[in-house]
Amino acid sequence: MSAYGKYVVKKFFWYFVTLIVAIALNFLLPRMIEGNPVSVIVAQMTQGMTESDTIKRVYDTFAAEFGIDQPLHVQFFIYVKNLLTGNWGTSFGLYPKPVTEILASAIPWTIGLQLPAILVGWIIGNVLGAVAAYRKGVFDKVIFPVALFVNSIPFFTLAIIMLYAFALTLKWFPMHGGYDYQMIPSLSWEFIGSVLRHHTLPFLSIVLVTIGGQAIGMREMSIYELNSDYVLYSKLLGIRDSRIARYVFRNAMLPQITGLALSIGTMVGGSLICEIVFSYPGIGTWMFTAIRQLDYPLISGCTLLIALAVLLANFTIDLIYGWIDPRIKAAQMEDQ
């Protein structure tokens, strides 16, 4: 097998183990609630209900879903089987809507918001960081402190400030939601325009904060690379500065890719809270609602989905990284 193939298999194995741990946590932690979780949940859910038949029916639904009478490992197998067959439980808040249906409606919004925002922020941040390191002087004196400040603003703080400034005071952008709720979703220009207008502020707040963190990391990596021996050697052989800058940029970029993989979890978390501020119809806002209503199946559906998405993103980044960094291939060959 090729060195890269080995790398992929090894990574896949580790992500598979991680996935199982994530699923197990998702299964175990909510079951730490003292007593019978189903009665706790049902009691909370059926508050004010008097009809014992309804209560019984609700109880039976959840007892079956949890496999409550079975030993823990059997419950776990039931849980995994349910997950695999697409049965992620029934929402309390929107009973009897399945959790998967709610998540499916939210996923496009979250992905449409976060994926472009994180990527754009990452790219701009890296370019700015490299420029600050390479040009030094004024660039560095301006970009670095600004990036440092922006980086320390939490996603949701920036979101709230933007909401207040641009939506509430200046009224440039709408305050709530993913589109104008008076419209019927369709592929019309009007609807797309509305989606874009609702998209702008949350998008910008994620982009800005991401830029800050990435620019700092890239600046540091570039300075490190600029001081390395190969830069001096290339200079002494008469290679022009712009070409050396390209070497440096590429080499500083590689650790930034792993950096992205490692920070993507935190970024996704921050962005989800950003959604709440704008009541954006994604996973974050649903989770907010679910927590307020103590809608356990939906909460655990959200957390599982987030964990899966982050694992998948990490795995993808690792594969890309292994593909473009020759050092990984060489390291694999040394192992043999």
Binding site: S228, D229, Y230, L232, Y233, S234, K235, L236, L237, G238, I239, R240, R243, Y247, R250, N251, L254, D325, P326, R327, A330, M333
Partner: protein
Amino acid sequence: MTLGKEQLRSRVSGREISYIPQAAMNALNPTLRIIRFIEDIMKEHRPELSRKQVWELAVERFETLNLSARVLESYPNELSGGMKQRTVIAISTILNPKVLIADEPTSALDVTSQKAVIKLLKHLLEKGYIQSLVFITHELPLLYHVTDDIMVMYAGEIVERGTAEQMIFDPIHPYTKKLMGSIIVPEEGMRGHKLAAIPGTPPNLKTVPEGCRFADRCTYAQSECRQGRIELQTFQDRSYRCIVPADTLREWYAHEDE
């Protein structure tokens, strides 16, 4: 002749004067194949060559230097330490520079790799790929076999200059004398031979003492040694930086060796 920075880069660096750094381990960009790097050098100095011509030229040069063409397709970290050093030398000299400056090119290598590097440098000189070689090292026996002339530096100054033969067997300056006395080689008579030692440490270059910079560690230092500036003296075809006449120094050394 004065040159601007840009002219220096395009006309001199790499094609007139070239350089071999001390740490070949890190001298090559880790994410660039060797041939890509050579192509980049050629783009600067021989832009008229096509990629194919560059490849042919590189293969030819590498093969004359007993390096396989496979090296060209490798990434630096796929090469061993000695191999990397020889690759760096081949790259540094691919434009046939007039002067090659080698800064401790063998200090991190095993003796076998060291010998291979020395052979390579000699080969380059014989073939006329380079015209002059400046070899910086603290390994004296090595210099003796590689270079024609040796120049000894102490605390930022040249203290003596002469042919390799003269410097090893007939040093004039007290520092050179001590340095040559500290040579250790696996030759008969080495055991039991008294090695020269220099007490003290070199001066801090931020606060250079007046007079001879070696005076504090020199067995023959007199009060005159610590005054004014000591100039380089010429003696026959060589020069040294000491106020004592060469013959007197030689006499002292002869007494000492008894």
